[in-house]
Symmetry: C2
């Protein structure tokens, strides 16, 4: 086994559990910080550990372009490359390529796209996306999917969903045939870690872990298509399932409706990953609906723009009203930023374009997200309505 | 007493000692990282503490413009504002204003200059520079001086040196009349810290510490003028003396010659501060000549440009040769960067314009400088020639 998921408590539709990968034990529901090119922007890895991040996300599209899969593979995969000994998940590149808009061309075979860095031409197919993700060596990797644009008509949503299903089957086939090629099965240092992971999973010393490939449910904003996509993806068979293609411009109420209805069609005993959401309120709500894993650039990206999440609401730290505010950013937060610095100082750093502004703001926002999920897990384990957060 | 300096060991002209300020005990010779606007660019304060930084430098010119002295004063001075409980030294603004070139106009009264931020007009005199530095509340502050440009003829060097001497007397007069106004004597929280500092200095509970004002020796590249400047500054009387006006474009051999000859004219039992130097080799050399304090933007600025100092020489981490180099930046360095990350990863961060590149590069370079000074102190205390580093 390369992935184990155990559910420890339930409250309504919500559940807490433990997800065991070769590199980590992850308490769920979990929020995964985004480390696009192998770095959660501005935050050293030891700080991420202190914050309690158990799993982070890397973007295959960006890493494929720079530094390149070959380099990451030679350094022992992403874990070795970025010196991160906890879990990693990589996306398939599908959503990133989707975001390129004009720069891509989709066919049954795959997607031709141009690099945002130098305009060079590249091609991702289910097979090449798997090859890239195996080389990057994350604990959990994602099937190559097509993210349906919004809005889209019925015919387009169906065609796109069906192509994602065919690509999922091709992704799995390639993965099963090549999964032994993950860099940390070959590297001299890493098997120890893999063996430790295996030991934690009750397979002491087996050391034969591989990555785990998750399927992705698409189907646009149509509940029936989402149901069909879920069924077809489950039929192919994956150790976990993601809901993709949301947060693409649709109203938030619609997002929630699609999430809630799609979750009903996913296996209750396997991890459910909602991709690319959301605000602190939203991640609490999705956890209450039974989502186990989430990722979002919001806490890190907002931090870079001086937008900070606190127990008392959002704070735009650039505002002049904070210029002489001696209080902590969030009086109810125990993070190293709130324990030490004043709003006045954080405002000054931001106004002065100091790099430390990004560093401290990001640390706080991630702390707020990770603490929020900690409280959600605690609440669910007590049988409370986690939505009360 | 607001400053105590004790010499513990000597080796040749070099000495080790302890400098006690209201906020810290500083082992000398000491290198002071530069935190221009109240932040050592990219490095959180707790990391600076881990690195062993005992005293950092703030730039009066920058802080005066942004966030402004009034704001810093209201937050308890720089210590309170930037949440730094160790020692701070501020420069007088003289060198920074000197660097503005076209934007300044010097008269006997002081210097009119334009802000590099918005072009607004400002005026620094010895009195207003003291007022600003008292408001900023650093442990050690500097007399307002004129930094003589290089090259300069004999008449210019003499006139400039004499004005610096007159400004030093005015600086001291203003400081003595207003030193009770330092923010941490009034603030409710800070007297505890000041009292602790006083206690460390053998004046338990006195809590009547003030800042300490250092004089600055000028005189261009003329040894006789430097001697005269030293004598006139000593006659005014300060608890410590700095050598200013070097590293302004002159050859390094000339810098060394002026430093060495000027040091002979400074009191042996008081701290000697060489401003704005230098490379790792240079700080070792100046320590061997009997300098006790140094500051320089080099380790932090070079880090931002990917230039890293190591026990094996300089490393330009941007070079492609490091793209797949799995080794540590410096195999002989125990800093958190060298212990964890590979050259390949650091190169990737730099090539990808990741903010973490600046953070990690700066941490390493500061660690290298601070470790270098630690070794120098150890070597001097053993009676060895510290120049052997």
């Amino acid at each position: 086994m390369s992935l184990t998921f155990e559910i420890n408590s339930r409250s309504g539709k919500a559940r807490t559990g433990r997800l065991l990968t070769p590199y980590a034990v992850i308490e769920t529901p979990v929020f995964m910080p985004v480390g696009t090119v192998g770095s959660v922007k501005g935050v050293p890895q030891d700080t991420l550990e202190e914050l309690g991040a158990q799993i982070i996300l890397g973007n295959t599209y960006h890493l494929y372009l720079r530094p390149g899969v070959d380099t990451v593979r030679k350094l022992g995969g992403l874990h070795g490359f970025m010196a991160w000994r906890r879990a990693i998940l990589t996306d398939s590149g599908g959503f990133q390529v989707f975001s390129l808009n004009e720069l891509r061309k989709v066919s049954e075979e795959g997607v031709t796209f141009r690099s945002h860095l130098d305009g060079s031409s590249h091609f991702f197919s289910p097979e090449s996306a798997m090859e890239a993700q195996i080389g990057l060596g994350a604990d959990i990797i994602m099937a190559f999917d097509e993210c349906t644009e919004y809005p889209a008509d019925q015919a387009r949503m169906r065609a796109s969903m069906e192509m994602t299903a065919r690509w999922a089957a091709r992704s799995k086939k390639y993965f099963e045939g090549h999964k032994e090629g993950v860099p940390w099965r070959a590297a001299s240092e890493i098997p120890t870690l893999a063996a430790e992971g295996a030991a934690r999973m009750g397979h002491p010393g087996s050391g034969d872990s591989t990555q785990s490939l998750f399927g992705i449910v698409q189907g646009g904003m149509d509940r029936a298509l989402r149901k069909e996509s879920a069924e077809r993806t489950i039929e192919i068979g994956f150790p976990g399932y993601a809901i993709g293609g949301l947060s693409v411009g649709e109203p938030r109420e619609l997002t929630r409706e699609i999430v809630e209805s799609t979750l009903e069609h996913l296996p209750a005993d396997q991890p459910r990953y909602l991709m690319g959401v959301g605000t602190p309120e939203e991640i609490v709500e999705y956890a209450s609906l039974g989502v186990d894993m989430m990722d979002c650039v919001l806490p890190t990206r907002a931090a870079r723009h001086g937008l900070l999440f606190t127990s008392e609401g959002k704070v735009s730290i650039k505002q002049a009203r904070y210029a002489q505010d001696a209080g902590p950013l969030d009086p109810n937060c125990g993070c190293r930023v709130c324990k030490r610095y004043s709003r006045a100082y954080l405002r000054h750093l931001y106004a002065s374009n100091e790099v430390l502004a990004q560093v401290l703001n990001t640390i706080h926002n991630l702390s707020f997200y990770l603490d929020t999920m900690r409280r959600v897990r605690h609440s669910i384990s007590l049988g409370e309505e986690s939505r009360s957060f």
